[in-house]
Amino acid sequence: MKVRVLVADDQAPFRRAARSVLGAASGFELVGEATSGEHAVTLVDSLLPDVVLMDIGMAGIGGIEAARSIAGTHPETMIVLLSTYREEDLPGNARTCGAAAYVHKSDFGGQVLRELWVGWRYPDSAR
């Protein structure tokens, strides 16, 4: 069974890139795309994805608050925060919102996703 992934980003170029990555990553499938934090929260409720790739800087409640909301209602979902900022430039609540990891957008790829998923799904497995 494939790992079901939702991408939440208001930037079309990254959504397109994520689509390509997920299309080529064996074992993963893209099940939905959200363009705002609120949209992501709604889609997670209906699609129940295994993974949410969440951009931090979206309009409205933004990715961090959306992540906090999803982590509260769907603790089984792995949330990966993404942005183009360096990790040290992230707001403090990025570390406490319930996300499993932060990945710089330019580092995102199939291998990174696979490693994060294995670490989340099987925390006791050797990395």
């Binding site: 397109r16 890139a17 994520a18 390509s20 080529a24 183009t84 957008k105 330019s106 790829g109 199939g110």
Partner: protein
């Protein structure tokens, strides 16, 4: 009949009036300076946002797709080739975003060819049909040319935002002894007095001009054309 000390009273009164005027001017300058600082900060934020939402996003997608193309080069060459098409598009989009941002910061034509050509080019992309009447202008200090250029663009934005259907605008700039003059005239519905006061762009124009010792004049009213004009003293 002369009043003892009457002349001193008149002098005192004149001095007090001058002092009041100076106080008022100082107050206006302080307010103007504060607005310039706020506007500069807002502009920096806008540039950061434009970079983040524009070129940076295309470059990020480029990085992700390049890595993916590298992975697919052996296992799925056809897919890797298709990705290269996407990569090419992202490169072109990133370049266009950077070019547009650089143009907004400082149009290269203004630097290379001066006010007349830069204004004509900018007017071609204005929100209302705009004629430019600028002839025989010399080259001036970069800050003077930039001020006239950006004031004209801001004034065009203001009048276009309030102009009725079918409105047109004319931009003029000319020099007189010791002063550079420009005006943006719109022949539409005009800006009502209360709207003119609320037009923050006009505040920005006034602030820019004051910074170079210049003046802004706005004449408008419902049903009348709007005229935004400014002067900048030229160093002799």
């Amino acid at each position: 009949m002369s009043v003892p000390g009457g002349r001193n009273v008149r002098v005192d009164s004149a001095l007090r009036a001058s002092l009041d005027e100076l106080r008022l001017e100082a107050e206006q300058l302080r307010a103007s300076l504060a607005r310039v600082v706020v506007a500069a900060d807002a502009e920096r934020r806008r540039i950061e946002r434009d970079l983040h939402d524009g070129a940076q996003q295309h470059l990020v997608a480029l990085a992700v797709n390049l890595e993916l193309a590298r992975e697919l080069a052996d296992s799925d060459p056809a897919e890797a080739k298709a990705l290269l098409e996407t990569i090419g598009r992202d490169v072109r989009d990133a370049l266009e975003d950077v070019r547009a941002l650089a143009h907004r910061i400082y149009p290269p034509l203004l630097l290379d060819r001066g006010l007349a050509e830069a204004l004509r080019t900018a007017a071609a992309g204005a929100r209302i049909p705009t004629r430019v009447e600028v002839t025989a202008l010399d080259r001036y200090a970069p800050e003077v040319e930039a001020t006239v250029y950006f004031c004209c663009l801001e004034a065009l934005e203001e009048v276009a935002a309030r102009a009725g259907a079918g409105a047109r605008a004319t931009v003029r700039a000319w020099s007189e002894p010791g002063v550079l003059v420009f005006e943006v005239v719109e022949d539409g519905v005009g800006i009502a007095a209360n709207e003119a006061r609320q037009a923050r762009g006009l505040d920005g124009i006034g602030d820019r001009l004051r910074a170079l010792g210049g003046r802004l004049t706005v004449s408008s009213g419902p049903g009348r054309s709007t005229r935004v004009s400014g002067t900048i003293p030229l160093a002799s």
